[in-house]
Amino acid sequence: MSTAIAPPAIPAATELKVVKDATCTFCGCVCDDMELTVEGNTITKAKNACVLGKAWFLNHHAEERPVATIEGQPATFEQAVERAAQILTNATFPITYGLSDTTCEAQRVAVAISDWIGGTVDTTTSVCHGPSGMAFQGVGEVTCTLGEVKNRADFIIFWGGNPAESHPRHFTKYSLMPKGEFLPNGRKDRTAVLIDVRKTKSARAADIFLQIKPRSDFELAWAMRGIAAGVEIDPDIEKVTGISLDVLKDVVAQMKQAKFGVILFGMGLTMTRGKHINSEAVLALARDMNKYTRFTAKPMRGHGNVTGADNVVTWQTGYPFGVNLNRGYPRFNPGEFTTSDVLARGEADAAMIIASDPMSNFSQPARDHLRSIPSVVLDPKLSDTAKVATVAFTTSVYGINTPGTVYRMDDVPISLRPAFDSPYPSDLEVLKAIEKRVKEILQARS
């Protein structure tokens, strides 16, 4: 690692190479069929990438920034590691947050550090599909990999999401369009429904669009469960949801007739009124349909490796997010140990933020508190959060510069094939160095 304070030299752009079967980590689709043309330290072509993927790959430029800063001043890697370890080991309520845009290898070390220091570890799941995680703990989930959707799903419901713009290749690669093993005609063999409060671009792709009234997702899902079970539903459901009983009955009848159905749901469901009970209702609806046919459900995860973060935090601690290790063993309580809540209540006295930018999206009280406490931030860019960091590390970008593992939204683990080297260390390298120093400090104290 460089000990120089000046920005590391970026290698000259001479070499030209093509990286096949590379993986895009921009969204939860984690498409692994990228063909990247790399000229030195720039990706000039990203074949197969969608509009978001192209923006991710082609606009990637290594910025001329110091490897690390302390209180805004350039510092050496070693100085920054030392200060980070001091911050984390001197805190009584340190919180680790982010993790959804880095590799599982780095996530594993981040959870380890949180364990050694008796901190709290939480991921961006707590502000996106956390309610789905809680719903999952209530009712379970009947689900499948995306290849099953491609090969079998003849009835697809998109609920509370706009995949045409948020997951642009979902339609073409996994769900609507592809010809599958048992659906030789692709789109013609499938029926698609969109349930949303707005007529988004995704509506054009659907055969049936149910524009529901805002904040009525739970009522709609519950009515559909009732219809499926043969319960008489009050026609007033139309006043509540904006969808007539007849239309609903027809959709449910079609669901029953399908051979293999799937509900793909987004944050329009999980982050609106009802939150986890909305997810519970939809998971229960999909589950109930298995009395008549095969039916599955799946949250459309956003960040490239948020699913990996859920998995890593779970296998190491037993819980998926919002885990407190202060008593020397893991405890779980969303609301109590989730970062936005912990910060908004002014509880944490230090923070380590990895590959996430809470200063740009948390509530004002949470941001005010984060700004007021010592923090360690790992980010390739000078994010709003990096700007307020006590110690900021400039890191290389996963998937573009560094190898490792990411989990697609359906829990399928995929290896990354980096395009070119970065002069900056990876999250993994930074975290390993911090862990080593943290353990030394703790050992000296005991």
Partner: protein, 551 residues
């Protein structure tokens, strides 16, 4: 490298015919070595085992400890952890959670703490192999490997349909290499595919599988033959059709017969040994005597039990329709996940109650298997962790096998009609320590084809468990005095003394590489990931060992 001498212990090493003999064990470079010829030569370290019982490290050949369904169960059931034992962080070890599905670090520490040094996860969809390797990296101390699900794989079904045994064999060889797995596993052959393609299940060994026109019988025999032809150290590992259904013993017997002398391992056989009418739970009973009679006279077969213990646990299985069945029976939360081209999965919490006639019979049926198999070398201890109960129940099972009065005491408190549905009351057999050493280490190691595990002969891996003898047998096996793994003292009276990652055990059978083009063509049509991104590369393996195939 220094020498370690375990001095003066009473050694049980059944593979080498050592049954309770006082002798020294010499260890160097992680292996058991011959005692020096010079009687005066001193070891660098001596562990005084005078008065203690010395056995090879335990080997669990069938458990669920890593991968997608295990991790899903952890995620799904926070409620089982709050009141469970806490696994505290120490300067040397990581914290964790228990409940029926412990977190990874806790799993490694608890196995080692109980004197088990090797464990195999029994059901992994190869698409998720990378996940398992990552979890194994966080499951410390024990050596481990996993079995790869093939019994509902579409390529397998197609080759069986097309009568292409060479392509079948080549594919399984390729797949084990790609996943870095250990053995070929079939789970409810054909039945899972029927479930995935529209619901339902295979009724029996001759039910045709939708879309493929093959039967479970053909899958069983085809994969058994391929595993033998590949020379895999462990033969086909079979989870039969109709798990858990009253009357399923006939399917199990038919499966044994269908093998026609081919080598095979029938797993968690307790769950497959039920008499009675599927539509009438009150007729549920044991059919172990009839199955054991056939099993005893067919040396091509081995088994592990899948013992049920009373209490809270989690059912987790690659058997998708079974998960649905259990959800229907118990009405509790249910996880199901279908993996493209490969497998299914079901996870349901379950509570085995001693006052339930069916549950108490399941408990008794497991014990009947241990007691009715004549040759202990052909039956391995398992709870199918966590399905029948936790692996931490092994000491309790040992106590039940060694002490028939303990069995009688349990029978007094369970549902009164249990006695009518099985033969347990009449079984007076009590296991000896030597037989316990067989079913908990020597036999599973032999079934797995691990030549250096499960014994203490020269050249064996220096995995040694040293117990303090006690009239309380359960206590003796719960809390070993010392555990040595790879020649290092890792546990002392329940405390972890040293941690390391442990070794991955996998196979790398040779296969006809000219078949890969055909596999790739098929793969690229139907999978949702790239063919080049499917195989697990060596960066995931850390310390590992390729166990040789046999010719």
């Amino acid at each position: 490298m220094s020498q370690l001498k375990i001095s003066g212990g009473t050694v049980y090493d059944p593979k080498n015919g050592v049954d309770g003999v006082i002798r020294d064990i010499w260890i160097e470079n992680g292996r058991v070595v011959a005692a020096p010829t010079d009687a005066n030569q001193k070891a660098h370290r001596v562990l005084d085992a005078t008065g203690l019982v010395v056995m090879p490290g335990g080997v669990d050949m069938h458990c669920h400890i890593a991968g997608p369904k295990v991790n899903t169960a952890r995620k799904m059931m926070p409620e089982t952890k709050r009141l469970a034992e806490k696994v505290h962080r120490t300067p040397l070890t990581r914290s964790g959670t228990m409940g029926s599905v412990p977190s990874t670090f806790a799993t490694g520490y608890k196995y080692a703490g109980m004197g088990y040094t090797t464990a195999f996860d029994a059901a992994i969809p190869p698409l998720a192999a990378r996940h398992v390797h990552e979890e194994f990296g966080d499951t410390p101390i024990i050596d481990k490997g996993f079995f790869v699900l093939v019994g509902n794989n579409h390529y397998v079904l197609q080759q069986i349909r097309d009568n292409e045994p060479e392509k079948l064999k080549g594919f399984i060889g390729w797949l084990l290499n790609a996943a870095k797995g250990y053995a070929a596993k079939i789970v409810n052959p054909g039945g899972v595919e029927i479930w995935k393609s529209g619901g339902g299940d295979a009724a029996g060994l001759d039910s045709p599988v939708d879309h493929f026109g093959v039967t479970p019988r053909q899958i069983v025999t085809g994969v058994a033959q391929a595993a033998m032809d590949l020379g895999l150290p462990h033969p086909v590992h079979i989870h039969c059709n109709n798990l858990g259904l009253p009357g399923n013993w006939q399917t199990t017997l038919a499966t044994m017969q269908a093998l026609e002398g081919r080598r095979a391992h029938l797993t968690h056989i307790q769950f497959h040994s039920y008499g009675g009418n599927p539509d009438d739970q009150s007729t549920f009973c044991s059919e172990v005597p009839r199955l054991a009679e056939y099993f005893n006279t067919h040396p091509n077969l081995t088994t592990d039990v899948g013992q049920v213990l009373f209490g809270e646990t989690t059912s987790m299985t690659g058997d998708g329709p079974l998960g649905y069945f259990l959800h229907q029976v118990y009405g509790r939360k249910w996880f199901s996940s279908d993996t493209e081209m490969e497998a299914g999965c079901g996870v349901v919490p379950i509570t085995y109650k001693d006052k339930s006639r069916v549950h108490a019979l399941q408990w008794a049926i497991g014990l009947e298997w241990y007691l009715l198999v004549d040759d202990p070398w052909r039956v391995a201890m398992s709870t199918d962790h966590p399905n029948g109960g936790s692996f931490l129940a092994y000491p309790e099972i040992i106590a039940l096998l060694m002490d028939r009065t303990r069995r009688e005491e349990v029978l007094k408190r369970v549902h009164p009609k249990v006695k009518d549905g099985c033969t347990l009351v009449d079984l007076k057999r009590e296991y000896t320590l030597n037989e316990i050493a067989i079913i908990t280490r020597a036999a599973p190691a032999r079934m797995l084809g691990l030549d250096r595990k499960g014994h203490l002969g020269i050249g064996a891996d220096a995995d040694v468990t040293i117990y303090t003898p006690s009239p309380d047998i359960q206590r003796m096996f719960e809390l070993p005095r010392y555990v040595i793994h790879h020649g290092e003292l890792v546990v002392e009276q329940g405390d972890i003394r040293k941690t390391f990652e442990g070794k991955l055990l996998h196979v790398a059978p040779s296969y006809d590489e000219s078949l890969v083009g055909d596999i790739q063509t098929w793969f690229e049509k139907y999978y949702s990931i790239q063919f080049a991104n499917y195989p697990v590369d060596e960066s995931y393996l850390h310390e590992h060992e390729v166990v040789a195939t046999r010719r």
